[in-house]
């Protein structure tokens, strides 16, 4: 079990995360926040790359900072920008990672073959990685993170560069893996975690906004999501979520505190909730785009 007790992090004097308390048990946790909310900082704190300014992080009751190599031995980590040695093959690279994880040589070889099969790279396992596509590199990254059969798997934006088919395959894989381990998956793509996450963690204004199931988060915007015709003029308190084409014509999906006159209430999804919760940030991004 991983516990974060009142964790805060400051860079120089500016706070990035404040008073974060979380408990993780086996299952997938989706860390879902807009860019710049502090997701990567939180993951770096959990991977011991950063130390909390205050608070503590415990693995099975022991401070991870004190556990050192023992903690790193149960950790699998895929960083946001996964680095690799282009002149080496995936097999050779994974053998190197296995050696640094102090894995038994025979077990490592078996595990490498299994993982390369799992991430559909068996055909190119002895080819140099510099010729690989972004998606293939990302799959090597996923394989290296799972190499030591980690009890705690941390994936920072893991679906970057994956095509839709690979994305689905990856989601299923993570769901399966999470049966007997903690998987923390950071993303700003809602569909990555909507169906597989046991809980969704959201950070807003440096604080923990929520850690709830996707359905609980969706419930929070129940009765606030509507579809209106394209010509509808939005009031300041209403938020445009998305647009779609239907047999009734062009429709706007909006969040509104009260039912609009021409609006039809629709069932909210996690993306609606995400956009509604981060409406200030979404508004700021939209404003920047319109400039």
């Amino acid at each position: 079990m991983l516990m974060l007790n009142n964790v805060s992090k400051k860079f120089q004097s500016s706070p990035v995360l404040e008073d974060i308390s979380l408990t993780f048990e086996n299952g997938v946790y989706g860390l879902l926040s807009p860019n710049g909310a502090g997701k990567t900082t939180l993951l770096k704190l959990i991977t011991t790359l950063l130390f909390p300014t205050s608070g503590e992080i415990l693995w099975n009751g022991q401070a991870i900072k004190e556990l050192g190599a023992d903690y790193r031995g149960i950790l699998g980590y895929l960083p946001q920008s996964f680095g690799y040695y282009g002149n080496y093959s995936p097999t050779r690279f994974l053998k190197y990672i296995a050696a640094l994880q102090k894995m038994n040589k025979r077990e490592a070889e078996k595990k490498i073959d299994e993982l390369l099969e799992l991430v559909a790279l068996s055909e190119v396992k002895n080819k140099k990685m510099k010729r690989f596509s972004g998606g293939m590199i990302q799959r090597v990254g996923i394989a290296q993170a799972m190499l030591n059969n980690p009890k705690l798997l941390i994936l920072d934006e893991p679906t970057t560069g994956l095509d839709p088919k690979e994305r689905v395959r990856f989601r299923n894989l993570i769901h399966r893996l999470a049966q007997d381990r903690i998987v923390i998956l950071s993303t700003h793509i809602v569909s990555d975690v909507e169906t597989i996450a046991k809980q969704i963690i959201m950070i807003k204004n440096r604080h923990l906004y929520c850690c709830e199931t996707p359905s609980q988060i969706t419930q929070s915007v129940q009765g606030k999501i509507f579809e209106v015709p394209a010509g509808y003029a939005l009031t300041p308190e209403q938020l445009l979520l998305s647009e779609r084409e239907s047999h009734e014509g062009h429709l706007l999906r909006i969040a509104s505190p009260v039912a609009p006159k021409e609006g039809v209430e629709v069932r909210p999804n996690l993306e609606d909730a995400f956009l509604y919760i981060y409406r200030d940030e979404v508004g700021a991004v939209a404003a920047n785009h319109s400039i």
Binding site: F11, L49, L50, R72, F82, G83, Y96, I97, L100, Q101
Partner: protein, 258 residues
Amino acid sequence: MNRVRKNSPLTQNEKENSITFILKEVDLQPATFRSFLRSYFQEVGFRYLFWGMGDILFIIGLLLIGTGIMYFSDFHYSLENDYSNKVYFTVFMASPLCYALLYFIGIWKEKLLGTFELKMTLRVSLKELLILRMLAFSGISLLVSVGTNIFIWQLLGQELSLMRLFSLSFTSLFLFANIQLLLEYKIPIHYSYWVTPMIWGVVGVLLIWQQEKIAQLLFYLPLSVVSGIVLGLLFLFMYLLRHNYFMQKEGTITYANA
């Protein structure tokens, strides 16, 4: 129903019994620097220490040969004009070059490839690898120094003191390595890989600026004193490496864009 739990503190005897029981059950083995070195070489092996550094070793080899060729004519000129203190000064300045290049280019490559942070989270972390590499680089640099010094000594007609060449070489090598380790303590990793080479650049310029005085000092310093300094610096190097191993330091090279 009374849900309040009665909190009865343990007696001193019970506490001691508990501690004795825990100590008996748990196989407590203190982590030592020696056990770290032993376990690395037993469980991981020497071959992975320089993994991915083949190109770096090749480039540094070429650089060192190039530097040697460049300075050779200068050496001859110095000796013919009885400027042997200049030769000692050059040897003193150039001796940490191999170590410095291996260390900085190694870190720079990890940063360039983006493998730095990933390797910091492995059981044998990059921080530990760097400590082992520093140890190995010092050994390699010593061998390179010995070879180069014998080569210079032979080429210049065995007129210089070989012992002085060795001791000055080793002094500057371990002086550099120790100050580098001290800088590592003080400067956060996320900018140490470019700040420390700059500091060394400034130090190099200052030393060249005061070249005459330093060359005189290196020439007249008694050999026994220099040898003593070498030994002292060698022990300090081992101590600082050990200290670096136990020191906890943030391992990120990039801060989040927060």
